[in-house]
């Protein structure tokens, strides 16, 4: 399913809301304890099927926390999350796959075994393992390395395999937590272009957490801008641009306008987050 325009998607998918987060609040610490930290404050968000949504915000704004809550890894202090109209109460391995920041390829298994363990817990039939693994690896150009161990691969290569493992899970929803954070800007650029092509073919619903404004504009259909802690949705920006994104998109004036809009909205939040961090707060997105 290759949808060209967000408005087309909207028209077709009026009732297919993939993920709905309502009034999600996350508080750390006991009530009444002066040391409590309010990480997320009454966040509500709807993500449509097949949409690519970015969570963009300063360090410590709770974007990773929100992602983990949506994926069922953390229970929110308040509020609910539904996926395909069912309440989220724990990990949903048949519906949701994560791609984390550092490669979480298990170092004691080689690439093939890493795919295998992922398939095993998601209930994929053993007979399908090899083919699906090779298909996913081919799409990221790493099919030759199926027998290698992660320590034999460079960081960029590891992240590609990590990505492929997530994609091969066969889930409709992909939650990606700053998957390119460990890479330099040029690698991110290249991988971002490749990712866009890949995802356009796959038709998945994606939530992508990032620090990078350019990355957010380049990849997503909508960008949810978050405030400094406590995290709230400050604004949502629509990027009306067909998929897959072409490298030329970055050169268009509209790209700069969108990025500037993000910057204008986030600048004060970023400053605020820095000050809070200096005062001794932690910075974990």
């Amino acid at each position: 399913m290759k949808l060209a325009h967000t408005s087309d998607k909207a028209a077709l998918a009026e009732s297919s809301v993939a993920i709905s987060a309502r009034h999600v609040t996350q508080r750390y610490g006991e009530p009444g304890d002066p040391q409590t930290v309010l990480a997320l404050d009454n966040v509500s968000l709807e993500i449509r099927r097949g949409e690519f949504l970015c969570l963009l915000g300063p360090s410590g704004c709770g974007k990773s926390t929100l992602l983990n809550i949506i994926g069922g890894l953390i229970e929110p202090t308040d509020g609910t999350v539904t996926v395909h109209d069912a309440m989220v109460r724990g990990p949903l391995p048949d519906k949701i796959a994560f791609v984390f920041q550092e490669s979480t390829l298990f170092p004691w298994y080689n690439v093939a075994e890493n795919f295998g363990i992922n398939f095993k817990y998601r209930g994929v039939a053993r007979s399908e393992w090899k083919d699906r693994a090779i298909k996913a690896l081919k799409s990221v150009g790493m099919a030759d390395f199926i027998d290698h161990y992660p320590n034999q691969l460079s960081i960029g290569m590891r992240q590609r395999v990590n990505l492929a493992r997530g994609l091969s899970s066969g889930t409709e929803i992909l939650l990606m937590d700053e998957p390119f954070a460990a890479l330099d800007e040029q690698s991110r650029m290249v991988l971002g272009e490749d990712l866009s092509i890949l995802l356009a073919e796959a038709g998945k619903t994606i939530i992508f957490v990032t620090h990078s404004l350019a990355e957010a504009v380049f990849l997503s259909d909508r960008i949810a801008l978050m405030t400094a802690r406590p995290g709230r949705i400050k604004a949502i920006i629509d990027v009306n641009e067909p998929h897959p994104r072409m490298p030329g998109f970055m050169l268009q004036p509209r790209f700069s306008e969108l990025r500037n809009a993000c910057y204008a909205s986030l600048h004060d939040e970023i400053r605020q987050a820095m000050v809070a961090a200096e005062r001794g707060g932690e910075t974990s997105g």
Partner: protein, 272 residues
């Protein structure tokens, strides 16, 4: 999606193991050999010329003594063989016990928090003062030496097993959970392989410690075995065979160490 210009050759290079030697690496190795050789030459000349050869023997005499006094003497040979046997027995026991106790202690948070500090406290005691006690309890035969070697070698294995069960990077646990793994699956596919690596690292230190324990016991019980002969050569001021005997034991120690290191490398190839 394909690999970039820079990634491809890098990937090919990394896929090739072991690493190749470059010019400067060879230079280092040869300098090292030269220094060792030079040291031997100076040693030889010094003892021959300065004449303190009733305390230090020149390398040539040591080499000769090795063949004439050590290798040819059946009693010494069997003493060395016995020591080797004691080390192997103590080591095997240490590995099994260390693994079993370590798994037990590391299995729950409570057992670890309560019992592990006790283990660490025991580890801090200089065990050598218990040596006379061991001989009182186990006699002066091989049993005491095996027991003493065991008590030295069990700790590194134990400590490493417990640590390996604990130190798993939380991100791996998170990833496994997100895939839908249950707690027992996580132990099997994440905690256990991670612990195994730590276990093999502990094996090498355990070998050194087991050797230490057995040697200490042998030296203390100087009525038979290797300890008897070292005492004999020392008291009769016969340095050449003493050096030769110790040298032989040292080479055996290095050999055992290398064997363990090879096994460790084979099983932890996936480690960075």
């Amino acid at each position: 999606m394909s690999l970039t210009q820079t990634e491809m050759p890098q990937a090919r290079a990394m896929a090739r193991r072991p690493r190749k030697e470059f010019g400067s690496a060879a230079k280092i190795v040869w300098t090292r050999r030269l220094i060792v050789l030079g040291g031997l030459v100076i040693w030889e000349l010094w003892t021959r010329l300065a004449g303190s050869s009733d305390v230090i023997a020149p390398p040539s005499s040591i080499a000769r003594a090795f063949f004439s006094d050590i290798l040819s003497d059946e009693q010494i040979r069997s003493a060395i063989a016995l020591t080797l046997l004691e080390v192997v027995c103590a080591y095997a026991l240490a590995i099994v016990a260390g693994l079993a106790i370590g798994l037990a202690i590391g299995s729950t948070s409570l057992s670890r928090r309560s019992l592990f500090p006790i283990i660490l406290l025991l580890y801090a005691i200089p065990q050598v003062i218990l040596l006379p006690l061991f001989t009182l309890g186990f006699g002066i035969g091989p049993a005491a030496k095996i027991a003493f070697g065991f008590s030295h070698g069990v700790f590194p294995v134990l400590v490493n097993v417990v640590a390996g069960m604990r130190n798993v990077h939380p991100l791996y646990l998170k990833a496994a959970r997100s895939m839908g793994a249950r707690r027992s699956d996580i132990i099997r596919n994440v905690t256990f392989p991670h612990m195994v690596a730590s276990f093999f690292t502990g094996l090498r230190l355990s070998m050194t410690m087991t050797l230490l324990g057995v040697i200490l016991a042998e030296l203390y019980v100087s009525t038979a075995g290797v300890g008897y002969f070292t005492k004999l050569f020392a008291e009769t001021f016969d340095p050449a065979p003493l050096f030769a005997l110790i040298g032989t034991l040292a080479i055996i120690a290095i050999g055992l160490n290398e064997i363990v290191r090879t096994i460790e490398r084979r099983f932890t190839r996936w480690k960075d």
